[in-house]
Amino acid sequence: MSDRRTQTPPQGTAATPPSGVRRIRMPQKLRNLELWLLAFACLINAASIVLVQLGALGTIDTQLVLLGAGLSALVFGLHIAMRFVARDADPFLLPIATVLNGLGIAMIYRIDIAEGDAGWESAAVRQIAWSAIAILCAIATIVLIRNHRVLFRYTYLAGLLAIVLLILPLLPGIGREVYGARVWIGIGDIATFQPGEIAKIALAVFFAGYLVRNRDSLSMVGTKFLGMRFPRARDLGPLLVVWALSMAVIVFQRDLGTALLYFGLFLVMLYVATSRLSWVVLGLSLFIGGALIAAQTLDYVRNRFANWLDPFSDERFNADPGGSYQLVQGLFGLGNGGLIGTGLGQGRPDLTPVPQSDYIIASLGEELGLAGVFAILALYLLFVARGFRIGFAGQDDFGKLLGVGLSFTVALQVFIVVGGVMRVIPLTGLTTPFLAAGGSSLVANWIIVGLLLRLSDTIRNHPRLVIDG
């Protein structure tokens, strides 16, 4: 072996010594870049909390700044963990998620000040506690799952887990109903957790594994019609099952947004796995058909559609259950913000109902203005683009599908919430990833960060040989 390695290299290459396998590995470079961006992110988070205090209180209160600093320490903990177990992971995901999480905390804190909450009553303190739990979950994800292909083995278990998580809120005893949607579980009187958020990760794992195993029959055969190859009737099974599942979510859990999220996730992964547009056409027509029937028969869906189409009429604005008061207040808030916003701590975001969870983007839009909302959307865009890039660069089909699926859930969720608040689509109750108050959403999204980091590490860690001709 060694004699061949040390042989005199033939012609041309004499100038460059035979290098054997060239591994593109720049762990220190990537991690150092991440460290700089993280420091920047923590600076932004501290600045946002200080600005809220200056704007709303006029003084600086060190207590919450200290809590925020504790959170920064945890983020750096994740960074240090990655230096050991995921040295080649993507350096952008963590700083972006940190900034979004920090902006969310600052805005929730600002609304606490307006509503006079403090201590454990304060949503901001709870949000910081949940963020700490979520980041610990991300660290656990990246330390425990050393190779994403482990998840491939548990494809059907993940599917079962998703179903169980979806059914949990419907069970008497632990299920809780909040604002009409039965998607919470809790102990006693407090609704504490939305299992559906975790279910979306389990579903992404299940869909990826299932499609890798079965995509041949879904993509190869079928009859051509209208320039597209349509699947055979008997291959429609999976699509119909997921459609029925999301319709069940609409009917029993009364949650339009979650149903749209699950179904959209499945359609996109199906499209990526088979590259056939006919699945998207079939799926979308099924879902729109189902949603239209729901709009005719279910009161809450009908209200959402009416509010979307005509929010400013007196009748809709004053309708007591399911009126458009919240939607209109959010729009007024965004309008009040204008181009550069009223300034952190100086707007009136608390006039809108639930300004810290579903409507956090309207609150941020009021105080940071169009410029701030665009920056936030740009951060989401970069996050999702990194996720797609990780999926695209993957060497194995399961990793590819999982990467695309996980980042698409973030993208679709942002679209559903922000689109609902800004009246692009009917308003549905979903959380804005990383920003909105809510523990389950934070935990789920930080686990997604952990999984994407793990995927990107596996991909870059691959040995590579570069031959420049």
């Binding site: 033939p10 041309g12 961006l37 200056l54 952008f92 300034g343 031959i467 420049d468 001709g469």
Partner: protein, 183 residues
């Protein structure tokens, strides 16, 4: 705290947010605009143009060294019909072309070959397609599959049309580069 100070602070904060966004965009610019073209040293550039010629005429003196070095072990193990499996093959050896003599470890993952920077083996020459071919594992056996490349993939001189098992020591040709799987 005066109105003006707060306005200046607000503008400063928005600026900070956007600087962060653009810092990230700047850091990943190579993803958006492709990798910077590296200037090859003079001799390497000359050999780059010679490389395709060398593989086109294997008897020409310039390529004598690599072919000889390569034929020795090939003759020893020979194209003995033993199919390369995860047990029998441990490395991929480049036998001619720019990086002749280089080795690449065979793991349990498929190996993509092409000009794209996502490939495991990146061959940047005029004859290689972006996603040219891949070596994949079917029940532990290494198979070569051509991914609709323009110039084709050749196994022992014949063009690969369907996924084909690769025997140990058989020559696979992609663009101007040939390689073998060895123990």
């Amino acid at each position: 705290m005066s109105e003006l100070t707060l306005l200046v602070l607000q503008l400063g904060f928005l600026l900070l947010l956007w600087v962060f966004v653009f810092a990230i965009v700047y850091a990943l610019r190579s993803d958006l605009f492709g990798q910077r073209v590296r200037k090859l040293p003079e001799t390497a550039a000359a050999s780059a143009s010679a490389a395709p010629v060398a593989s086109a005429f294997p008897s020409s003196p310039v390529s004598q060294a690599p072919t000889e070095a390569v034929n020795r072990p090939a003759a020893a193990s020979g194209s003995d019909g033993g199919v390369a499996t995860t047990e029998s093959a441990s490395r991929l050896v480049i036998t001619s072309g720019q990086k002749a003599g280089s080795e690449f470890p065979l793991g349990r993952d498929e190996i993509t070959i092409g000009r794209s920077s996502d490939s495991a083996i990146i061959i940047r020459d005029d004859y290689t397609s972006t996603h040219h071919a891949r070596l994949m594992l079917w029940n532990g056996r290494w198979m070569i599959q051509d991914l609709d490349s323009t110039n084709g993939t050749f196994l022992d001189g014949s063009r690969v049309t369907v996924p084909t098992p690769v025997p140990l020591g058989a020559t696979v040709k992609v663009g101007a580069t040939t390689f073998e799987l060895r123990r």
